[in-house]
Amino acid sequence: MEHGQRMTDGRKRWLWLAGAVVWLGLPWLVFGNNYVLSTLVLIGLYALVGTGMTLLMGYAGQISLGQAAFYGMGAYTSAYLTAHAGWPAWLALVAGAALAALVALVVGIPVFRLREHYLALATLGFGVIMFTFFKEWKGITGGLNGFFGIPPIRIAGIPLQSDWQFYYLVSSFVLAGGWFARNVVRSRVGRALRAIHGSEVAASSLGVNITKYKLQIFILSAVYASVAGSLYAHYVTFINPDLFGIIPSIYFLIMVIIGGTASVWGGLVGAAVYVCLGEWLKAVVPLLLPNAGGEFEIVFFGLLLVIMLIYMPNGLTGVAPQGLRRCWKTSWRQSERATAVDSHKARSIGGEQG
């Protein structure tokens, strides 16, 4: 038993090491190919939004149809504060996240008084309103012409402008965001959320404040989206309202459904599949249908959404092979078992048992 445990520990260490090597070495593995790296950056940005939404959908059981509005809020806050107010990019990123959190709080308080899926409706309306804001508040957002000349983000005075630099920046955020989400899920808060999922009446009779936790997760998802938006603004240096409308919100939703909410990494999986399929479509569709416009993508992903919901409602992470699933589940269970039993033994020896 103990021997077996050590074996899996050893194998896990190798897996971690391999993962780290791939992560750090990727820019070399693709020979610094900017197309691949920029695709990875895009995946990372969407994954960040998706991780927040995975928490919201998988654990708080709520759907947001306006997540792109928070993404836009981060992007415009960063753009305005760095380009026009001369703020450092990191401070602007925090300001954007704070603003998104505040707005999510204001939207969420009335919504979570009601049960069921009112958040979907409220965020849909909110997304439309924010899109109008981005479009019409020209003094700040530049309107439909877009916002130009967003200064780069700096680390230790070095401006980050190349794709490989952004690859490291964004992937670090994705890993940190996933780590944070995983910790939340495996804590008192995550337990409370899963309990709400199981039985609201029982959860509240044990002291779980249902409204508070749903609201907190909604706010957290808004912060994830806003941070991703800020990074995006500094990456592309030009933003316009179309990137933050209802359609992008729907795409975020599709990504999370593709990825599934069985793991906090569902957002990353979904974003990767979505971006890769999108790139593939761009390459293949013109060959098959020379006159097809960009709308083809919406039709394709709409169909994919329907098929996913019918045949794979738990998404890709929900049907992942057992072995893979064990990587993100058992490691925790095993350690949990070990601590509980250890402490139990310690207590027995101490003779405290009633």
Partner: protein, 256 residues
Amino acid sequence: MSAMLLEVEQLSKSFGGIQAVQNVSFYVKKEDIVAVIGPNGAGKTTLFNMISGIVPPTSGFVRFQGAIVSGKQPHELAMLGMTRTFQNLQLFADMTVLENVMVGFHSRLKSGIVSAGFRLPRTVKEEKQAQEQAFFCLEQVGLAHLAWERAGTLPYGMQRLVEIARAAVSRPSLILLDEPMAGLNPQESKQLVDVLLMMREQGFSFLFVEHDMETVMAIADRIVVLDYGKKIAEGAPEEIARHPDVIKAYLGEEAV
């Protein structure tokens, strides 16, 4: 020893024109086991739901440990030390038995989303404590060996014990049990009675609704009898067994 724990004063509830509960008053002292009995439709569940904050009373109030608590939400009551179980089990079926009981420890922990997300030392310590307490509690009800099973896969009687462990792990001052014996076979009932008596020894107080008279007579210190929403009797088991109004309510007019 005999401090007042729960005082129910003139509690009433009407749904439309129907008076489900009318001016019911009684009390529970520390380390008491009080049973509420009555024929079907007597208003027991409504009374219970009012005390535990699930439905607000139409009039009257509930005082818990000296403070008026009627109108408070169930989660606020849990924080104050009052938890409950449900007649039709409300376990978190997809969580493990241990996790179920750990949710019961929620009210004793403080980690918020930020502390949990960054896995601060405080959270790590709290998690360990929650796990230990939950495991200990499972041991007490004899289910420690099933700690890592999914709660939904356990037999009914064991699920009931898990629910009780979950309600007890935070060491609340009062536990409300809504028909704890419902659906249990005689052997399971006996096991549950033993667990409840053991918990009483440890200083737990209970208020419970029950149909099974044998259990009520065996473990209750005092019994409150409801009929048509009104309290018709209150007293020790032997008094209640002889009370003419109670016999009338249960067996009908002619029996008296």
